[in-house]
């Protein structure tokens, strides 16, 4: 029985891989970045998730008791200023790869009975994300897929979508506006988020919003999505002077 975690070289994926390993799970960490994977105490493979053989490589490690699709990239800036190829890359890695891999794993019967499919979405599902149009698109698509998948799995199997709020990761720093290092550093740590996520998955929750701050943001956004979107536009979009890929 193995736990597969994609995007495990850095950030939230890495924290999830480490936390799962510490609990005694047999973890297979997947990422493109072999150098960072090497420093993990778990089994790993360097793999481009958008490649044609990615699903087969993962399926060969069956039976899989849990897979967490955490790999993702973003691109922030005015929609029209981000190169078309980059928009396409975001949708390919963040949406197409996890959906295609899920379908293939089910077809190959690579999942153990009672297995969990977990997808990392975004809190932006509750509000929109001016400045990251294709990222928001990919994450909303994943949330929808997770909900549909949950309905179609055999009894006992589980599908969940995780909606993390802002975290202190290199990923976040990379896509944030200039001079926001302090704000990024003050965010939730990936270790804290990972622990809450695993707890939610163990409890077989369908929707996991890790942490009080993220849950508060989700609630505010649900109550006043228009206002939340405008605030986000001011706080983020209007400060993004040039695209960040």
């Amino acid at each position: 029985m193995i736990t597969v975690i994609t995007g495990a070289a850095n950030g939230l994926g890495r924290a999830l891989a480490l936390a799962s390993h510490e609990r005694g799970e047999d973890v297979l960490a997947i990422d493109l970045d072999a150098q960072s994977l090497e420093t993990l105490p778990t089994k790993w493979i360097a793999l481009d998730l958008t490649s044609a053989d990615a699903a087969a490589r993962i399926a060969s490690e069956s039976p899989i008791s849990r897979i967490i699709h955490s790999a993702g990239i973003s691109g922030t800036g005015p929609f029209e200023s981000i190169p078309a190829e980059h928009h396409a890359r975001i949708l390919a890695l963040n949406l197409e790869a996890p959906v295609a891999i899920t379908c293939a794993l089910l077809r190959a019967q690579a999942m153990a009975p009672g297995a969990t499919h977990a997808f990392v979405g975004s809190l932006s599902t509750y509000t929109g994300y001016p400045g990251a149009v294709s990222y928001a698109a990919s994450k909303d698509g994943l949330a929808s897929f997770a909900a549909s998948l949950r309905k179609s799995l055999p009894d006992g199997d589980h599908a969940a979508c995780i909606f993390p709020g802002p975290m202190a990761t290199n990923h976040a720093a990379r896509y944030a506006p200039d001079n926001s290092e302090k704000t990024v550093a003050a965010r939730q740590s990936t270790e804290e988020a990972a622990a809450l996520i695993l707890k939610g998955l163990d409890a077989r929750k369908a929707v996991i919003v890790p942490g009080g701050k993220a849950r508060l943001m989700a609630t505010v956004c649900k109550l006043a999505p228009g206002l939340a979107g405008r605030l986000l536009k001011k706080a983020l979009y209007e400060k993004l002077t040039e695209p960040r890929l």
Binding site: A100, P130, V133, A137, G141, F145, S148, G229
Partner: protein, 223 residues
């Protein structure tokens, strides 16, 4: 005359939208994959045969420098359990339903300033759908993009998200939906197109939910 671009115009809702804007005497450029001679009855407007998943250069060349309206309607579905979607199915649906309209919207941006961009989604973009999980995800993704883009382009381009419900088009045959009884109650494309055009006129998002479908089904029964 104002000029509209309509994608997926060979059939179904797209074709009905061409008729709506033709009746309003708009200039229209229509596009779809099939060759012009295969569209019956003939379209009453300019037509560019094109697979939007391979790029839109040949279409952009033929468009005027200013567009008043672009309706990005082209889409396809598949009715099957997740395990019965091949990698190719997933790739094609995301390419056609999500990536292509987003990249076309980006390419149209300079032409659309002051105009309206309308994405055609689906009521399936909301909720959970075990028989068309991938299709629903592509439309949810498009919807998420539209919502964010509407905020970005506020004051520049009016971005609308329009969600038709079950409509009596050939999409369901192509998607592999059987000849189920419920299809008798699907709304005719002309009605759906008229409602979507009305939403565009008003500059409002619209979702033709279950109540809308039921009302038209009842109207059909009592006719």
């Amino acid at each position: 005359m104002p000029h509209a671009l309509i994608t997926g115009a060979s059939d179904g809702i797209g074709r009905a939208l061409v008729d709506v804007y033709h009746a309003k005497e708009w200039d229209i450029t229509a596009t779809a994959r099939r060759p012009a001679e295969a569209i019956m009855p003939e379209l009453p407007c300019a037509y560019v045969p094109l697979d939007l998943t391979t790029g839109a250069e040949s279409l952009l060349e033929k468009l005027p420098p200013k567009l008043d309206l672009a309706i990005l309607n082209a889409g396809a579905g598949k009715v099957a359990a997740p395990a019965d979607h091949s990698a190719e199915d997933v790739a094609q649906m995301i390419a056609l339903n999500t990536t292509a309209p987003l990249l076309l919207a980006q390419a149209l941006f300079p032409r659309l300033e002051g105009g309206t961009l309308a994405f055609i989604g689906s009521t399936a973009a909301r909720g959970a759908h075990k028989d068309f999980s991938v299709y629903a995800a592509t439309k949810a993704a498009l919807s998420g993009a539209a919502r964010s883009l509407a905020l970005e382009w506020e004051g520049l381009v009016k971005v609308l998200m329009l969600h038709p419900g079950p409509t009596a088009t050939t999409m369901h045959d192509k998607a592999g939906l059987g000849d189920i009884a419920a299809r008798r109650f699907f709304t005719p494309p002309a009605k759906v197109a008229a409602s979507l055009a009305d939403a565009i006129d008003r500059g409002k998002n619209r979702r033709l939910g279950a109540a809308y479908t039921a009302r038209h089904a009842l109207e059909g029964l009592f006719k």
